[in-house]
């Protein structure tokens, strides 16, 4: 080092960078080998140069970059950093450092490196282009505008540069500038075309023309629609409308153009034109309900929002809409959407008997029953928000059943058409789902069985019954029924997934996995050319579970994670399951990171292909991807695991168990101890052998892989999974991990905050000693649902905590905020009185409201023992929670009963009393040991019905 420094003295860095001719050409070769992915050759060249010039910065960097591609990460970073140290003023070194960060998806650092590189080499197109991609990926929009401006200045002849510059302005909401850029560009091309008469005008643009007019036509069309959209977003509606109309000949996406026009007509109050347009769109596709809404708005009527059940709409508005639909139906007799939406327009309260509502449902249901559409109930489920609706639907379908049984028709009068025999099955199937929805499990099962007795070959009947049994609290029967359905059609992927889910719910993880692999790529017939060979290669079919992961099968991973977490939560559960659960939940989170990452390639692709509108839609989608319900589910699961790991750290648990073991052994008689130790040793040996076998497998893989690269990880998938899961178990700081997850959730759920997130944030904050965050969580939770039992309990806990002296010594501002919020909530009352008022206000809403209300009340006056027992006994256990209203509103379900049971356990004999009550109401419940559940235990298959009576008869 010292000698080379002496040699280098007196040289400028530029001199040192300059290599002699031979090495220069070698260096160029490294770059070429890198670009053509011949990394090993590149590495050799680099080493040749370094032999003579060991401190040549750019070569060191390139060597690092090449090593990175050979999976030698650590060395890669070493060399790249060393190279940079040797030649800080080389843009190549900075660029390479940026590339390295980029390959690890560390875009933030990569951007910094690129900016440094650009400082040294202002006009390097490659670096500018790379930088612009990173900036848009990271949504550094202002940086993106700047970079695109430089690119355009350097290469104004390239169309992409103009487009990208325009899009950049659009993204920072500078709509006028965006439009100006487009206009300027179009002027230049128009001029070129005129001047050259079509000969070599704008380079690329012309190539498109020669290669295929279609592409250019598409680009012209897309440009018009994109401009119109920018105008629309910039509030220049009239201009946008004129543009679309004027350029109608150029537009290929006529439908998209019409939809845009419709939006803009409505927004600018040109209702007459809007009406005409939407009527046209409805004629094109009557099933698209967005067109219906457009039409209604153009008529000055409010839009029907799905789910809100139109309950807020005044009667006359609804009547007008119904009349409109009547007219439309005459025109489009086959349209389903009209008929379905008319139901939403008739309220059961409109006339005394709800006749209009019933006849609307009747008109909708009949054709579906005749066709035998299994999803009929699914499409009417929204109506069940109102109890009265459910009653009317029940009456209608019960009427169908008795009329079919009596006369084989769906009703008297002119509609007395004779029905095919299967219609009765679909009516019964509907009724089964109906009774299940309103919590009448006995009736639901009765209808299921009647339907199965009628036509035992309808597969859906078994999945419906499985669902009923799930709600009845017997998950193993549910899984059995689902599996029966699956066996009736082994080629049906949906049924296979259904069974996997039900097996996981029943806690049968191994069985679920062995079914889950059946429909993976490796195991589907036709996907493998040589089945025999495959079988030999893969001794373990479960290896294919990897495929489910690669396919980002999120529902499966979520169910699997939850199954593991349930195992961990059992009193006799295995705490290692927390690691497994966490591992699966983190897979889900990782999928979302991957999906976010996936947009990277589209930044250059979409701009080049000019699919601008879809590109912007995609950016919007990616901006909200972490708000997806499945991300929340995965994150909540992971948070629960982290909290568990914090509350009961496995490392300490191991210690404790070892200690207990020692004590136990110490108490044993000598010969007993000897036997015990021998057994332990044997177990240990078996374990080691298993681990060694797994290791061998990895060794095989290592031998196969060619030198230079790191050996590929070839441990069996499940072994690897198990190891990763165990590592997670010993997560060093679970609360820190939880914190970053919570931050992301809070950020992305801003527009649509979720109670669950707030409750978990509260638990996290209480454990981390962050009172202000706990306060914030409670506040948000109560804002989402003021009566939420969880939020209420959190508030009471927070008040007690703040009174426990933890406010002393904290920041005065924090203490001030805390006390003022608490004062405001209590409104001058004592905490006891506040808790009392909650019970009075919300205590009758559901068993959980009552239970948590009483618990909070008990906490507030620090009740214990029999006093607490009395409170819970009168308020919860003695309550009348099994009324029709509670069951139908789903405030009483088997799941909520279990939750209550869990919280009552340990309070005197309340747990047992509660279990007795629940067993009476849920006779199939295996949790509460209901009477019918016990019978099923002896003969599980009897739930499938039908066959069992004949089981013993056999001839031939």
């Amino acid at each position: 080092m010292a000698s080379s420094k002496a040699k280098a003295a007196g040289q400028t860095p530029e001199d040192r960078r300059q290599l002699p001719g031979k090495e220069q050409s070698l260096f160029r070769q490294i770059v070429r080998f890198y670009e053509t992915k011949q990394y090993k050759k590149g590495l050799k060249c680099a080493e040749q140069i370094l032999k003579k010039f060991p401190e040549h910065g750019e070569t060191l960097s390139m060597k690092g970059l090449t090593l990175n591609c050979l999976d030698r990460k650590e060395e890669a970073y070493d060399y790249v950093k060393k190279g940079l140290r040797m030649d800080l003023r080389s843009h190549v070194c900075w660029h390479v450092f940026g590339l390295l960060y980029r390959s690890d998806h560390n875009y933030k650092e990569a951007i910094k490196c690129y900016l440094n590189a650009l400082r040294l080499e202002k006009e390097n197109l490659q670096i500018l282009r790379d930088l612009s991609l990173l900036q848009i990926q990271m949504r550094d929009l202002n940086g993106f505008v700047n970079t695109r401006r430089q690119l355009l200045t350097l290469r104004p002849a390239q169309r992409t540069n103009w487009i990208a510059f325009a899009v950049a302005h659009h993204l920072v909401k500078n709509h006028d500038m965006c439009l100006q850029v487009i206009q300027a560009y179009e002027k230049t091309t128009a001029k070129d075309k005129d001047a050259a008469g079509g000969k070599d005008a704008a380079g690329e643009g012309d190539k498109g023309k020669a290669g295929g007019g279609e592409e250019e036509q598409f680009q012209t069309s897309e440009m018009v629609l994109y401009r119109a959209r920018v105008m629309e977003e910039g509030g220049r509606l009239e201009e946008a409308i004129d543009l679309i109309r004027e350029k109608d000949d150029d537009i290929l996406d006529k439908l998209g153009a019409k939809e845009a026009l419709g939006r803009m007509f409505l927004a600018s109050g040109r209702n007459q034109e809007a009406e005409e347009l939407y009527r046209g769109l409805i004629d094109k596709n009557p099933e698209n309900t967005r067109y219906h809404d457009g039409l209604f708005r153009s008529l000055g009527l409010p839009a029907l929002v799905k789910g809100a059940a139109s309950s807020h709409l005044p009667k006359d508005a609804r009547q007008k809409m119904a009349t409109e639909y009547d007219a439309l139906r005459r025109k489009h007799s086959k349209c389903v959407a009209f008929v379905r939406r008319v139901i939403d327009l008739h309220h059961c309260e409109d006339d005394g008997e709800g006749r209009a509502f019933v006849s609307a449902v009747d008109a909708y249901a009949r054709p579906w029953l005749k066709k035998g559409v299994p999803s009929l109930f699914q499409s009417l489920k929204d109506l069940y928000e109102k109890r009265r609706n459910a009653e009317l639907i029940e009456g209608l379908f019960e009427g169908y059943e008795s009329s079919l049984r009596k006369s084989g028709t769906l009703g008297e009068g002119d509609s007395a058409e004779e029905m095919a025999p299967d219609v009765l099955v679909w009516v019964l199937a509907f009724l089964a789902q109906h009774y299940d929805r309103v919590g009448n499990i006995a009736k639901a099962l009765e209808k299921c069985d009647a339907a199965i007795a009628h036509t035992p070959t309808v597969i859906e009947l078994y999945t419906i019954k499985a669902k009923v049994m799930k709600h009845a609290g017997n998950l193993s029967s549910a899984a059995l029924l689902s599996d029966h359905a699956r066996q009736l059609d082994l080629a049906d992927r949906y049924l296979n997934c259904h069974t996997v889910k039900y097996k996981l719910r029943a806690g049968d993880i191994d069985e679920a996995n062995s079914l889950a692999v059946l429909f993976t790529k490796d195991n589907l017939p036709g996907n493998s050319k040589d089945d025999e060979k495959k079988k030999k290669e893969k001794p373990d079919p479960l290896q294919s579970l990897k495929n489910l992961h690669e396919m980002q099968c999120i529902w499966y991973e979520h169910e699997l994670g939850s199954a593991h977490l349930r195992l961990a939560e059992k009193s006799d559960g295995n705490f290692e399951s927390v690691g497994r659960a966490l591992h699966k939940y983190r897979y889900i989170l990782q999928h979302f990171d991957d999906m976010h990452e996936d947009q990277f390639d589209f930044h250059s692709y979409c701009l080049r292909k000019m699919t601008l509108r879809s590109y912007l839609d995609m950016l919007k989608f990616e901006d909200q991807i972490y708000a997806h319900p499945f991300y929340s589910k995965g994150a909540w699961g992971a948070l629960r695991c982290y909290l568990r790991l914090h509350d009961d750290p496995p490392a300490k648990r191991r210690e404790r168990e070892a200690q207990e073991e020692e004590e136990r052994v110490a108490k044993m008689a000598p010969n007993e101890r000897k036997k015990y130790r021998a057994k332990q040793r044997k177990l240990q040996k078996q374990k080691e052998q298993a681990a060694a076998a797994a290791g061998d497998h990895a060794q095989d893989g290592a031998n196969n892989s060619s030198g230079g690269q790191k050996p590929k990880d070839s441990r069996p998938f499940l072994v690897k999974e198990e190891e990763d899961a165990e590592k997670l178990l010993y997560t060093e700081n679970p609360l820190e991990e939880a914190s970053s997850l919570l931050k992301k959730l809070q950020e992305y759920q801003q527009d649509d905050p979720k109670l669950e997130t707030q409750l978990l944030a509260f638990e996290w904050a209480m454990r981390s000693g962050k009172l202000l965050m706990a306060l914030q969580a409670v506040r948000r939770a109560l804002k989402i649902d003021g009566d939420s039992p969880g939020a209420h309990l959190c508030f009471v806990r927070l008040v007690l905590k703040s009174r426990g002296g933890c406010l002393e010594g904290t920041n005065k501002v924090v203490a001030g905020v805390m006390t003022s919020y608490i004062e405001k909530m209590l409104g001058g009352r004592a905490l006891e009185a506040y808790a009392e008022s909650y019970v009075a206000k919300a205590g009758s809403k559901s068993m959980l409201h009552a239970l948590v209300g009483a618990e909070a009340r008990g906490l507030a006056s620090s009740l214990e023992g029999s006093a607490l027992e009395d409170l819970l006994s009168s308020g919860v256990v003695g309550g009348d929670w099994f009324t029709e209203a509670h069951l139908a509103a789903r405030t009483t379900t088997h799941t909520s009963c279990i939750e209550v049971h869990g919280r009552l356990a340990g309070v005197g004999s309340l747990g047992e009393r509660w279990a007795e009550i629940c067993a009476r109401h849920f006779p199939y419940s295996s949790h509460f040991g209901g009477e019918k559940a016990r019978a099923l235990q002896g003969d599980p298959k009897s739930i499938l019905g039908v066959q069992s009576a004949l089981e013993n008869l056999a001839i031939q």
């Binding site: 035998g372 025999p421 036509t455 070959t457 009736l488 059609d489 004949l950 056999a954």
Partner: protein, 155 residues
Amino acid sequence: MKIRVVLDSVRDQNLKQMKQLNAAIFPVKYQDKFYSDCVACGDVTQLAYYNDILIGAIACRLESKGNGKAKLYIMTLGVLAPYRDLGVGTHLLEHSLRVAMEDPNIEEAYLHVQTSNDGAIRFYDKHGFAIKEMIPNYYKRIDPPDCYILHRSLV
């Protein structure tokens, strides 16, 4: 009233449906051999679907007569109770007989029927079958235990 029936062959994937159907129709539980014969004998065994629901099936087996000739044995033909008298059985039987007649080596068809099953005897009579003989004590656990052999020539 007639209903539109679609036929399908038996495969491993839908075999269980046929088992479910037979369990509901016949007071007999068939052994696995019966079903593997069904899958092996091809198009003479058929499932009848209405609205995607399996409502009936015919199961036949080809038996060698030794001289390169064969006969068609109808093992079962059944339709779920609610779907009877709608022409499904005829549809199934005609299909199997047509398939058999396309093969000149298949010369006759026959089956066993419980002597008390007047409906079935009438049904087969309509399709050209006649009683050939009676076998006493053919069935073990149902009453009456006797059966007829019904027979029809296919040439």
